[in-house]
């Protein structure tokens, strides 16, 4: 009798310890673009609320697949999923946080945020039409900067990625030619240049190849002290990549008329708006298998909306405007069964 009773006692103790911890766990998978901020939010939320986020940055496409199959509590995607697909999969889509992309260059003698570029010029570089850094079109925008007779080497993400989706959306917005010839997507048919794997691959390639231009998430550019550039926005002003210019872009967005929150933050109005800003999205089943876990996902993002702005800022991401947060909370209440 002694051994079994000891055994049951220990089992009981184990289940007492294990059950609450398990109930507080939520799982998510998908987008790589917001992965750093989700990781930090996860740590902070665990300390504050006991919710334990297990997020796997496996890529937006794979994240969509996982939530369609309901193998995770929520999916995450950089590109908004279209309404028909959301409907057939019975998912609610809402934005989590916003971020920005920067163009990075490697030209001897050119410093951080010194070079001025426009979307049209970048498009022509990636179409292989402007091939030298001392092209008259670039020189015209950069009086006072000595630009060498150096071949332009465009670099892009070779792996499918949300970053590429945002970048090609920007090029499609500013150039009808790019839109018809290449288009936008997580991977596209590139016309010129070389591909590298991941943000770090693009950054390393740009660093190694003189004359290279590439694109990375701004957080990545700041952390690695890459040579970012100024860009001309829709208002015609040259702006530097900064939290102020990102926030300006977010404020000028038309959130009310975006179905399923599929907001377009590319090349928005406003004198100080940074042109390449994007929201990243969460996909949550409307008919969750496990209502407790689903409620915990909402609890987590509610916490993140309220308390996560500073963390987002420290990583160069931008929190959602308060009005949008409230709208999302209303959607949770109305549409998620719980």
């Amino acid at each position: 009798m002694q051994i079994p009773s000891y055994f049951t006692a220990s089992m009981l103790a184990l289940s007492l310890v294990a059950t609450p911890a398990l109930a507080q766990q939520i799982t998510g998978a998908g987008a790589t673009f917001p992965a750093p901020v989700y990781a930090k939010w996860g740590e902070a939320a665990k300390a504050a609320t006991g919710l334990e986020l297990n997020y796997q940055a496996i890529g937006s496409g794979a994240g969509q697949t996982q939530i369609f199959n309901r193998t995770v509590d929520f999916g995450a995607s950089d590109a908004p999923v279209d309404s028909a697909k959301l409907k057939s999969a019975n998912l609610l889509q809402f934005p989590a946080v916003m971020g920005a992309l920067s163009a990075i260059v490697n030209i001897p003698g050119v410093e951080i945020d010194q070079l001025k570029l426009s979307g049209e010029i970048i498009t022509e570089m990636y179409l292989g039409k402007i091939t030298k850094w001392n092209d008259p079109k670039i020189v015209e925008l950069n009086k006072g900067v000595t630009l060498p007779n150096l071949a332009i080497a465009p670099v892009y993400r070779a792996d499918g990625s949300g970053t590429t989706y945002v970048w090609t959306s920007y090029l499609s917005t500013v150039s009808p030619e790019w839109k018809s010839q290449v288009g936008s997507g997580t991977s596209v048919k590139w016309v010129a240049g070389n591909g590298a794997k991941g943000n770090d691959g693009v950054a390393a390639t740009v660093r190694q190849v003189k004359g290279a231009i590439g694109y990375v998430e701004n957080a990545y550019a700041i952390q690695n002290k890459l040579t970012t550039t100024q860009l001309r926005n829709k208002a015609g002003n040259f702006v530097k990549p900064s939290l102020a210019s990102f926030a300006a872009a977010a404020e000028n967005a038309d959130w009310k008329n975006a179905p399923d929150y599929a907001i377009n933050l590319i090349d928005t109005q406003g004198a100080n708006s940074w042109p390449i800003v994007s929201a990243t999205f969460i996909l949550l089943p409307k008919d969750p298998k496990d209502t407790v876990r689903s409620a915990n996902v909402m609890k987590f993002f509610d916490w993140a909306y309220k308390n996560g702005a500073d963390i987002a800022k420290s990583l160069e991401y931008i929190a959602l405007p308060t009005a949008v947060q409230d709208a999302v909370r209303a959607s949770w209440k109305a549409e998620i069964k719980g």
Partner: protein, 315 residues
């Protein structure tokens, strides 16, 4: 293949029967696995084959936005990098094996032999990083500008050496692959060179042959088949290599005439595009179909090598 008659089976030895069943099962399992992989790749890739038909094999487009997929560029890249890698690796591997078996002093043979085997055990990601951070800058700074200046305008062959010096590209990928497969080929060659009966070589030396003449007239003819097998082993690894190639090939879906131009291989394209392919999409089917093509290419390479060996054995 010679048929050996089964030895007469003794009745009642259950242990023997169980062992035979297990061994047969293990043998059949390999066949079943192979068949299952081919079939599942084919079924997965069927939507792509159905959509594009022969166009999947002849199309040079890989356009996820317009949903047009063709496999010419990755197939070209796979074959050209592997062949270039063999061209670089085989002479060096032969040199290593020749030196180890015929020329090296006894006390050096073992350490160098072990070093070669250790090289074979280095994970491919290490070769990839080494290639990207060490070889690519050297290629971009020195080798490519020099060669492009020297030969870029040469009549006839100039187009092979043109383009901006990125450092990455077909040639760099082939170079890394070459280094990766040298130890495989060298180790095989050394092992088979050692199987030549000493009496053959001694007879040749007795007739006054030089070391090189012994190698050419005795060792190579004697070991030809196994040497070929070692080379095919290296080629097989080069065809399927993923990580190291992804780092240094430049990853573009265009065929460029220049050997310094960027390209793509089947394995690296699959690795890069897989995470952003939704279940049920045409892109995923096309990636599966590409996997099937890689299988077919490997099979053809193996078949050709077998054929070469058979004709070699007959003469």
């Amino acid at each position: 293949m010679s048929q050996t008659a089964n030895p007469p089976r003794r009745r009642g030895s259950i242990g023997d029967m169980i062992f035979q069943a297990l061994a047969t099962g293990a043998g059949i399992l390999v066949l079943v696995l192979l068949g299952a992989i081919i079939v599942s790749l084919l079924i997965g890739g069927l939507p792509a084959f159905r959509q594009f038909g022969v166009g999947f094999l002849t199309g040079a487009d890989w356009d996820p936005v317009k949903q047009v997929f063709g496999s010419v560029v990755p197939i070209y890249g796979t074959i050209i990098t592997s062949i270039l890698a063999l061209v670089m690796a085989v002479p060096i591997a032969f040199g290593i094996a020749f030196w180890l078996t015929e020329l090296a002093p006894n006390w050096l043979q073992r350490p160098v032999g072990i070093a070669v085997e250790l090289l074979a055990a280095v994970p491919s990601i290490i070769y990839g990083m080494w290639g990207f951070f060490v070889i690519v800058p050297v290629m971009a700074e020195y080798v490519q500008p020099f060669v492009i200046d020297l030969l870029g305008d040469a009549p006839g062959i100039g187009f092979l050496f043109q383009g901006p010096p990125f450092g990455t590209g077909i040639f760099t990928a082939a170079l890394i692959l070459g280094v990766m497969i040298i130890p495989f080929i060298a180790a095989t060659m050394r092992d088979v060179f050692q199987t030549v009966p000493p009496v053959f070589k001694e007879s040749a030396y007795g007739l006054g042959c030089t070391t090189w003449e012994v190698m050419r007239a005795i060792v190579i003819p004697y070991t030809r088949i196994s040497v070929m097998g070692g080379i095919m082993l290296g080629l097989g690894r080069a065809l399927g290599e993923t990580m190291a190639v992804t780092f240094v090939i430049g990853n573009t879906n265009r065929i460029s005439g220049s050997i310094f131009g960027p390209g793509n291989t089947i394995a690296s394209l699959i690795a890069l595009e897989f995470p952003e392919s939704e279940a049920g999409s045409l892109k995923l089917a096309s990636l599966m179909a590409l996997g099937f093509m890689l299988f077919v290419i490997s099979f053809i390479v193996l078949a050709i090598s077998r054929m070469l060996l058979r004709t070699g054995a007959r003469t």
